[in-house]
C-alpha cells in the first residue's frame, strides 16, 4: 500500500521546486553592519505595510460600492455595521500613511548612503517609480469614501495638471473621465486603485526584491568596516520580523486609538469649505501652488510649479546617471547638499501648510 509520509511530501516538493538552491542563496547572503545599519529596516517595513494594504484592501472590496450614490453609504456600512469594519478601514487608511512615510525614509536613506551607485541603478529607478505609484495609490484611494474632503482634494489634484502646456487639458479629462468630477471619476479612480496600480506595483516590488537578493545589501561609501557582516538568513530576517512585529503593534494601536474618520458626504454644488487641504504627502506641492504668484515674468505660475516638480521627479529617477562620483565609490557632497536643501524645503513647506 502506498503511504504518504511527511518526508515523501518534502522530497516531492524538493524535486519540483528549487528549495535547496534558494536556501543556499539565503545562507550565503550577508548584510553589512555599521553605524547606519538601522536604515536597512525601512525597505522591509514598507513591504510590510504594502502587504497590510493588500489584505485590508481586498477585505474592503467585499462591501465597498464605487458609485456616487452608494460609495459614502457603503463606507458608513463598513464602519458601523460590518463586524470589525471600522478597524479594517482604519488600518487601511493608517497603513497607507505609514507606508508612504517609511518609503520616504527608505528613499532618503538610500540617497544619503549613495546606494544607487552601480550596479544598483535599476533598484533605485524601480524604487522611485514605486514611490510615484504609492503616491498614486494615495491619490486614487482618497476619493473613494466620497466625502467632502476627498471630493475637493480630487478636484484640486485633477486640476493641477491642467496648466501643463499642450497635454494638460487631456490629462485632466483622462483622470476625471470627463470635464467635471462625477461618477466616471469615481469608477476610474477605483479601477486604478484596485487593479491597475496593484498590478504594476506587484511587478515592480518583485523586480526590486529580486535585485535586492541578487546584488545584496549595499555598504555606504567610505564607511569603515568595523564589524563583521551578519547572515541574512536567519539573523537579519529575524531582526526584520522583530521590526515588522513592532510596526504591527504601532499600526494596530494608532488604528484603534485614533480611528480614521469620515467627513460629510460630497455635494457637487456646495462651495468649498475653509481649510481644505490634501494629505500630508501632497502638502509641499499644495503650499507652493498657494504662495507662487499667478504670473512669473512671462510664465503662468501654476504651470511653472508643475513643470519644476515634474523635472524634480525626473532628476530623481536619473540620479544614478547624474552622480558620476559615486560610481568610483567617492562621497558626493555636492549632490548631498542639493538633496538636503530640497528636503528642508519640502519639510518647511509641509509645516507651513499644516499650520496655515
Amino acid at each position: 500500500m502506498f503511504k504518504i509520509t511527511r518526508d515523501a511530501i518534502i522530497i516531492w516538493f524538493r524535486n519540483r521546486f528549487p528549495v535547496d538552491t534558494l536556501a543556499r542563496h539565503l545562507k550565503t547572503k550577508q548584510v553589512p553592519q555599521h553605524r547606519h545599519s538601522i536604515w536597512y529596516y525601512f525597505g522591509g517595513l514598507t513591504l510590510f505595510f504594502f502587504i497590510v494594504q493588500f489584505v485590508t484592501g481586498i477585505l474592503l472590496m467585499f462591501y465597498y460600492r464605487p458609485t456616487p450614490d452608494h460609495a459614502y453609504e457603503s463606507i458608513l456600512f463598513i464602519m458601523h455595521e460590518v463586524r470589525f469594519g471600522w478597524v479594517i478601514r482604519s488600518i487601511h487608511s493608517w497603513a497607507a500613511n505609514l507606508m508612504i512615510a517609511t518609503l520616504f525614509i527608505h528613499l532618503i536613506s538610500v540617497f544619503y548612503m549613495q546606494a544607487y551607485r552601480p550596479p544598483r541603478e535599476l533598484m533605485w529607478i524601480s524604487g522611485v517609480i514605486l514611490l510615484g505609484l504609492v503616491l498614486g495609490f494615495g491619490f486614487t484611494g482618497y476619493l473613494l469614501p466620497w466625502d467632502e474632503m476627498a471630493f475637493y482634494a480630487t478636484q484640486i489634484g485633477t486640476e493641477i495638471p491642467r496648466s501643463i502646456p499642450v497635454i494638460g487639458e487631456s490629462i485632466m479629462i483622462l483622470l476625471r473621465g470627463g470635464r467635471e468630477i462625477g461618477s466616471a471619476t469615481l469608477t476610474r479612480m477605483y479601477a486604478l486603485h484596485v487593479v491597475v496600480l496593484p498590478l504594476i506595483t506587484l511587478f515592480l516590488v518583485g523586480l526590486h526584491l529580486f535585485l535586492n537578493q541578487y546584488y545584496g545589501v549595499s555598504r555606504p561609501v567610505k564607511v569603515k568596516k568595523k564589524k563583521e557582516p551578519i547572515k541574512f538568513f536567519p539573523n537579519f530576517m529575524l531582526r526584520d520580523i522583530r521590526a515588522w512585529l513592532g510596526a504591527m503593534l504601532v499600526l494596530l494601536s494608532i488604528a484603534m486609538l485614533s480611528p480614521w474618520g469620515l467627513g460629510e458626504e460630497a455635494d457637487l454644488l456646495k462651495p468649498a469649505p475653509e481649510g481644505i487641504k490634501p494629505e500630508w504627502y501632497f502638502l509641499p506641492l499644495y503650499q507652493t501652488l498657494k504662495i507662487v504668484p499667478s504670473r512669473i515674468w512671462y510664465f503662468d505660475g501654476e504651470a511653472l510649479v508643475n513643470i519644476i516638480f515634474l523635472l524634480g521627479g525626473l532628476l530623481l529617477v536619473a540620479l544614478p546617471f547624474i552622480d558620476r562620483k559615486s560610481r568610483n565609490d567617492e562621497n558626493n557632497m555636492f549632490i548631498k547638499i542639493i538633496g538636503t536643501i530640497v528636503l528642508i524645503y519640502l519639510i518647511i513647506l509641509t509645516i507651513i501648510a499644516y499650520i496655515d
Binding site: I156, E180, I276
Partner: protein, 142 residues
C-alpha cells in the same frame, strides 16, 4: 564581417514588422477608449422668478454637469458665472458682507464682474448668459 541575410533573418524581420503594425491599432484603440467621449450639455435651466431673487444673495445651481453660481446684486441685477475657481477648480461662494466671490481653497477673490482681484487665480470666471422670460430667470450654456 557583414551579417549574412538568410531566410531566418528575413522571417524574423517580417514577424517584427507584423507585430509593430498590429500593435499600433491595438494601442491606439486602448488610448481612444480611455479618453471619454465629449458630452457637453447644451440647454438652459430655470432657476426661479424675479421676485424670488433676494438682493445681495448668491446660490450654486447645477447646469448639466457643472456648478454655476447665480448672484443677485444689491441693485437687483442677476448675474451668473461658472462656479469653478479658475485657479484649481474649487466651487466658489458669494460673500454678502464683502460683496465679492470667494474661493476657500487657496483664497482667490473675484469681483462681481467675475475678474480676479486677489489670490492665485489669474483668469476671470466664465460668464453664463441669463435670460428673463415672463418673469422667469434661466441660465443657458455658452
Amino acid at each position: 564581417m557583414q551579417k549574412k541575410t538568410n531566410r531566418r533573418t528575413v522571417l524574423n524581420r517580417i514577424i517584427y514588422l507584423w507585430a509593430a503594425v498590429t500593435s499600433v491599432p491595438i494601442i491606439s484603440s486602448i488610448i481612444q477608449f480611455i479618453f471619454p467621449p465629449a458630452r457637453a450639455f447644451v440647454g438652459s435651466k430655470v432657476i426661479g422668478t424675479v421676485d424670488e431673487m433676494e438682493p445681495n444673495t448668491g446660490k450654486v445651481v447645477q447646469l448639466g454637469e457643472r456648478p454655476v453660481i447665480v448672484i443677485t446684486t444689491e441693485a437687483g441685477e442677476t448675474i451668473a458665472y461658472g462656479a469653478n475657481c479658475t485657479h484649481l477648480g474649487c466651487v466658489v461662494r458669494f460673500r454678502e458682507q464683502q460683496g465679492d466671490i470667494y474661493c476657500a481653497c487657496h483664497g482667490s477673490v473675484f469681483n462681481l464682474d467675475g475678474h480676479p482681484v486677489s489670490g492665485p487665480a489669474n483668469r476671470p470666471l466664465e460668464e453664463i448668459p441669463i435670460k428673463i422670460d415672463n418673469d422667469q430667470i434661466s441660465i443657458t450654456t455658452t
